[in-house]
Each structure stands twice: as C-alpha cells, then as structure tokens.
Amino acid sequence: MRRKNIIAAMVIIVITIIYGLMTLQLPTRSLPDTPGPTFFPWINVVIILFLSVVLLLSSVFSTKNFNLEFKQEETQSNHNLRALFALIGFAVYLVTLPSFGFLFTTIPFFSFLMVMFSEKRPLYILSSSVGLTFLFYFVFRYGFNIFLPQGALHDAVLKVIL
C-alpha cells in the first residue's frame, strides 16, 4: 500500500498543478468583495495539494516493508491481466458501437465477457449472447421507447450478412 500511496499522491499532485494552471486561465468576472468563478477551484487546489502532500509524506516515512508488498502483488498479476483484457474489450466495444450499432457489437462483446468469466460451452455462449442482446434491445426500444444506437454501418453490415 505504501508504494501505491506514493504513486497516487504524486499523480494527484501533478493533476492538481495542471488544474491550478487551468484555473489561472479562467476569466475573473467578479464584483468587488465577492467570490468569482475561480474561488471554489482555488479552494479545491489548496485542499487537494495539502492532502496529497500529507499522503506522500506519511507514505515515504512509513515503516512498512516495500519488498514484501511487491511479492504479494506479483501473485495477482494473472488476474490483473484478465481484467486488463476485459477493459480493452470494453473500450473496443464502445469505440465500435456508434458505427456498427447496438446489435452487431453487443453480441460479440457479450460472448467475449462470457469467455472472460470462464464459460466454455460455445452453444451456450452463442445462444445467451444473441438471446439477451435481443431481449435488451426490444425491452428498451419497445418497452421504454429508448432508441439504442443503430450505427452508421448498420445497413451495410446487414446487406453483407443477408
């Protein structure tokens, strides 16, 4: 935790400095003796910087063993790789969704996540992915009148399939 705290504090300090620099560039429309638009962001900058420095110093001067912590984290690396893979899949899904539409992207994404959850039966994966994706689509489209993204390439993909 000590190593993580140091990383967290340093990252937050850098982001807060950027936030502070951006606050400097904000227009200062203000009446005399009244707080303007930069007032609250400056309070935030001061509080965050103070707390991050406290976190950094308390972690640097902590007596916990660095190496032991490192070994414990190594054992989790396989699980983390799986999580990273899932996140990349999620990002790809969100990037392709507006172009290909809800149905064409959700079915493979759903199957991908099922595999991530150690599901191995292909027919079960396929039927669940297709069935549930269509269920969501129809429930939101016709039940709640929410139009899910059709996708600009929806018709083109449909033509290729049919």
């Binding site: 935790m1 993580k4 705290n5 990383i7 967290a8 937050i12 807060t16 936030y19 951006m22 904000l26 227009p27 429309r29 009446l31 003796d33 009244t34 707080p35 303007g36 638009p37 007032f39 609250f40 962001p41 935030n44 509080i47 965050i48 707390l51 991050s52 406290v54 976190l55 308390s58 989790q76 699980h79 983390n80 799986r82 999580a83 899932a86 996140l87 999620f90 899904y93 969100l94 969704l97 994404f109 759903f110 996540l113 099922m114 991530m116 959850f117 150690s118 599901e119 669940s128 992915s129 549930l132 994706t133 969501f136 939101f140 709640f144 009148n145 929410i146 139009f147 899910l148 993204p149």
Partner: protein
Amino acid sequence: MNPEILIGLNQSIGLMVLLSTSIGVLIGLIVGMIPGLTISTGIIVFLPITFVLPPDVSIALLLGLYVGGMTGGSFSAVLLNIPGTPSASATAIDGYPMASSGNAGRALGIAITASFIGGIVSFLFLFLVAPILAEFALNFRTEDMFSIILFGMTIICSFSAGSLIKGLLSAAIGLAIVTIGQDPVMGTQRFTFGEVNLMAGVHFLTALIGLFAIPQLISHISDQTKLGAVTQSKIKSILPNVSDLKIVKTPIILGSMIGSFLGTLPGAGGPIAAFISYDYAKKISKRPERFGSGTIEGVAAPESANNAVTGGALIPMMTLGIPGDPVTAILIGALIVHGLAPGPLMFLERADFAYGVIFSFFWANIFNFLIALLSLRILVKVLDTPRSILMPSLAVLCVVGSFALRNNFFDVYIMLFFGLIGISMKWLDMPVVPLLLALVLGGQLEENLRVALTGSQGDISIFFTSPISLSFIILSIFSVVWSFRSNRKYKQIIN
C-alpha cells in the same frame, strides 16, 4: 387531516405505483441476495428505466428496490455465509450457524419479519418527523444551507475508516470534478475544453454508473473464486411461531429504534446500525453466550436495524436534500432527473408528492414482507445464477443506462472514464463514496458558499453568527467524532 396526506396516500395506491413498488421489491430482493451486487449498483442499473416513467412510479420502483435489497442481503448471509449487502454482515454471525444446523427457514423467517417491523417503525418515524423538520428548514438561509451541506458531507468520515486522508482526497477530487461546466452563480464556462457536451457539466448519474458498476465488473473478472456451498438444505416452515416472536420481540424493537435514529445521521448507515443493535441485543439477552452459535435474537436485531435505517435515511434526504447514505444520494439524483429537488421546499410546493413517497415507502415494506415470505423458496434459486450471464448483462446495462440518460453517446465515454477512475481508486484502496457525495452535494455547496459570501461582502463570520449555521457546524464536528467512535466499535465487534 392535512389534505395533502390524503392526496399522497391516493398517489401511492395507484395501480402503476403499487405495481412498480412490488417489482422494485422483487428486483431488490434479487439484487440484495447476490453477493457482490450492492443495492447502489442495482439502483444505478435500473435507474435509466425510470426516466421514461412518471416520477411517482419511478421513485416507488427505486424505493422498493432499496427496501427489498436490504432484506435480500440477509438471504445469502444466512444461506451462504456471504452477506449480499454490507448491512447483512451482522446477520450472518448467527444466521449461517442456524442454517447449517437445519434451521435455514426459521432464520430467514425471523429475518423477514424483523425487516418488516424495522421498516414499519422507520416509516412511522419518517411520517412524523419529516414534515416537522421540513417546516423548520424553510427558515434556512444560504449560510445555513452551506453548513447543512457541510454536515451532510461528514458522511465521508464513515467511509474513510481505512484512511481519513484518502477519504478526504476522494471528496476533494469530487469537488474539483463538480467545477467542470457552468459556474452556478455567474454562468462562466470552466474546464470545458471547448467541448459542447461538457457545458452542462458531468452528469453525476453517468459518473456513478462508471464509478460503481465498472470496478465491480472488473473485480469479478479478476477474482472468480467459487462461492461456498449453498446451504439450501430444505427450507421448511418460514413463518415464525409465537414462541420465537416472544423471544425476538425486544431485540426487534431495539434494532428498529437504533436503525431509525442512526439512519437520519449522515455517516451512520446499515452496517453500523446492524452491528450496534447486535451488540445491544447481546448485552440485554438472558443467554448472551449463545450469540454467534445460531440464536434468533442475533438475526432479529441486525435485520430490524438495517431495514429501519432506510426510513431514517429518507428523512434528511427529503427534508434537507442531503443524503443519509449512498443509496439516498442516488435517489436524490433520480428525483432531480424528474425535475424534483428534494429539500424543505418539496414539502411546501409538492407536499402531495412528498407524502406519496412516504406512503410508497410504507407499501414497499408491506410488499417486501409478502413477496419475501411467499416466494423465498424460488428466490433463493437466484443464488445459482451463473456470473457468466449476470456480469455481461450488467456491463451492457451500464452502457445502455448512461446512453439513455440524455440520448448522447458522449455520456457513455464519460461513464467509461469514471469507470477507469473507479478502478484506479479501488487499486489505491481509496473509498469511492466520498467522491459520490461530493458529486451530489458539491454544486450546492459552492453555490450556497458563494451566495452567502456575496451577501456578507466576503465576511466569513456570517457562518458563525447565524445560530442555525453555527449549530450545524458544531453538529458536523460531533458527527465526525461520532463516526470515528462508531467505526472503531464496529471494527471491535467484527474482530
């Protein structure tokens, strides 16, 4: 009788409202009993559905989910020794040993009955206290509102037990995020990077979906340990008998009172109320040595307390607009989406709606008791639902939910961004709830602070000269100290 009470009662017994309440309860029971799915996540996932429903129907659904979720948590606590919600942790101490010795039905029956009584007591508390508090709150000025919101934010302390610094940092980051978009007093654009979609700021519900649901999904992927053996060994008679009810009478009353009171205090919440009730029930019991080995008092006290918390938490939410726990913070967001700002003005301008919400809470407790009791044997089968179906469904619902909020795909990317923040915070062991609280209350905090300072021409003594403001500043200090003391006690009981 106040005619608005009758209108509210009438609103709550509409067919759609009752149907919505019962569906909410059913969903809540299911969400609550699945380990790893919190009530907050359940509400967040189902929130988009409520956007297309009338406000009374949608709030009834969410209240049902809240009440049902609290009870559902006890099912997996009793049957699996894994609390479905943190509030059910104390229930597992005696519930699981009871189930292991073949008394699963008896333990669950007591849990359901205690939840029902706790819920009804807290309904009475809500019904009697909320209108009085709302009337009093009408006299509040901006400096008072600032201090009240500050008091509301002291809830942060109870979620920062691991590290106060990290909890406060999380809240401060939330306050910084709130500054994105239009400044609430002068309308100046801040930190929008020229992006039109950011001009109205980050919608806090989009942020919530990302912060709560995505880290949960990822943590389930990285940790796929199998659940323990389900103790579903013949759930026999569920309805508690008269002799059992006599034994649990005092613990239930005690738990209901403790839960109702603690629910009103920001920073307390279900788990603390449940453990404190358990502790007191043990102290007043004639056979304290049996606690921990499967006694019905040990199930009754925490269960009545955690359900009583729900009504208590609705009091500050409805009268002051400050959340008593994370779920009520999300409920505030749901009300705002429907154009209803919770606070003292709600009882003045929409008293019929406010009473309707209170009565829907009553019906939610009635349905919770009936549905849990009648369909328990079927409901527990949900515990067998494979995660390979549940979690991908959750992921898709997150995407649909954030899109449906404003029919804007930009919100989906914002959701993913907050998901990454949530994952990072989890990795850093930084609590997410303070950030959530800051997102809910930050805008009002800034607005009231600036308006109060503008009125006093920059003189900060205004916060100490107003008796209401000063009282809430003192209460905030008390709340911080009290939160730490209760957390320490909670940890001692767990250990």
